[in-house]
């Protein structure tokens, strides 16, 4: 398996090299790209753990000095949207209520249609199943 990376290396029973230039390049690139992908998540989590005065200090990347989970509790159960003060929990249960029938209905319709398309190749069936 590992010999793919060693395509240009001499053959032989040499053990797996973990610090070859290729590997440093490979992992370096991946780690660098990971920073780009993780940055917003880091900002979100770090900010969520700060208190309001600390957020107003204005550096989104600095880790929280004083970790507080109070915003999480507030967002879940107390925050107000319009006249409802139930926070995210209400929206979450709404999502669940939509999720269950939509999964159920789409799977049942799609499986029936899939059966039809598998057994009956009519002219124009590719319009419905374009690949």
């Amino acid at each position: 398996m590992a010999d793919l990376t060693a395509a240009s290396e001499p053959r032989g029973p040499k053990p797996r090299r973990s610090l070859s230039p290729t590997n440093i390049m490979l992992y370096g690139t991946l780690l660098l790209v990971s920073v780009y992908y993780l940055l917003p998540l880091y900002v979100m989590i770090v900010t969520s753990l700060k208190g309001m005065p600390e957020i107003r200090l204005g550096n989104v990347f600095s880790p929280p000095v004083e970790v507080t989970f109070e915003p999480w509790v507030k967002a879940w159960a107390e925050a107000c949207t319009g006249i409802n003060c139930e926070g995210l929990s209400r929206g979450f249960w709404n999502s669940v209520a939509i999720l269950i029938p939509s999964v159920f209905v789409s799977i049942s319709v799609a499986s029936v249609s899939g059966y039809a398309l598998a057994n009956w190749r009519f002219k124009g069936s590719e319009t419905f199943l374009p690949s």
Binding site: L4, L26, T29, M44, V60, V109, A116, F122, S131
Partner: protein, 299 residues
């Protein structure tokens, strides 16, 4: 559909399959075609609110549409965002997939990191990106804090480049999914191909460009269609980051449609815009579908 005429055995052949396909065909006809027709019809009227039939005005709405500067800016933005996003997503997605396919350690971790943005709501992540790109407390202030005082990175407040600021977040969100598609494609490549390439002494990068990528054509086509449909629909990203601003510098067509329909209560104009969007999709899609599926017959 033209089913019975073609089959020698007539209506009863494959009867269960025909019955089973009724919901699908009904959905397609009523929801897709029916609603599209309804929309197109109303784009020729001056309807303003929902129970809608109003006076037929012909192409007036379209004339107004193409004389609106905001729409023209939207189209231009969509073109810039679309072309950049398409190219960058494909390049980044394929490169990441190729890197991950080099039998590295911790592949699952990296794959999760690259893919998770796809599972998050744009409204939330758009806000996080807005902070990061904000000159007062984002990257610019941090780099300036390190001592590089003249460093300027303020994409979202500059009319000229605001759309590229949105592009940064768009790529962040979309490329992971492309990466997964590409990775699946790469895994489908026969190991023998690699062995043959090595025996012939072809460098790895050449193998990728001249052998692997042509073999992965179907995957590229799938990725292309998915990215393109995502680009046309882009709306929440813009709303979360700039709400179309500064001024109208980052307007996109989908936002124009929504605002005309639900804020200006100008249904006809919104439908005219959405019909133009549909038309532009079709102009791209029909020649492609013709080339892709026109020639071959499937069993």
């Amino acid at each position: 559909m033209a089913d019975t005429a073609r089959k020698p055995n007539g209506l009863t052949r494959n009867l269960t399959a025909k019955i089973a396909s009724v919901p699908m065909i009904a959905t397609a006809l009523v929801i897709f075609i029916g609603c599209t027709a309804w929309t197109i019809y109303h784009s020729f009227t001056r309807s303003r609110l929902l129970p809608a039939p109003d006076k037929w005005v012909g192409l007036d709405q379209y004339e107004r549409l193409w004389n609106t500067r905001r729409w023209l800016v939207s189209i231009e933005n969509l073109a810039i965002y679309g072309i950049c996003s398409l190219i960058l997503s494909l390049v980044i997605g394929f490169t990441l997939a190729a890197l991950l396919d080099r039998k590295i350690r911790g592949e699952n971790v990296f794959r999760t990191i690259f893919l998770y943005p796809f599972a998050l709501s744009f409204i939330v992540t758009g806000l996080a990106w807005q902070w990061i790109l904000n000159p007062d407390f984002g990257i610019q202030s941090v780099v300036q804090g390190w001592g590089w005082e003249s460093f300027a990175f303020d994409p979202l407040n500059n009319r000229e480049i605001a759309i590229y600021g949105i592009l940064i977040a768009g790529i962040w969100q979309g490329s992971g999914f492309v990466m997964v598609l590409m990775l699946a494609g790469l895994r489908g490549i026969d190991e023998e191909i690699w062995k043959a390439a090595r025996v012939d002494g072809i460098p790895t990068w050449k193998t990728y460009i001249f052998v692997i990528i042509p073999m992965m054509r179907p995957v590229f086509v799938t990725a292309l269609v998915i990215i393109a449909s995502g680009i046309i629909k882009v709306y929440d990203l813009v709303v979360a980051q700039t709400s179309g601003g500064p001024g109208i510098a980052t307007e996109v067509p989908a936002k124009y449609v929504i605002e005309k329909m639900f804020q200006s209560q100008n249904l006809g104009q919104g439908f005219a815009a959405s019909t133009m969007m549909l038309l532009s999709v079709l102009v791209v899609l029909i020649p492609w579908a013709y080339l892709e599926f026109g020639g071959k017959r499937r069993g």
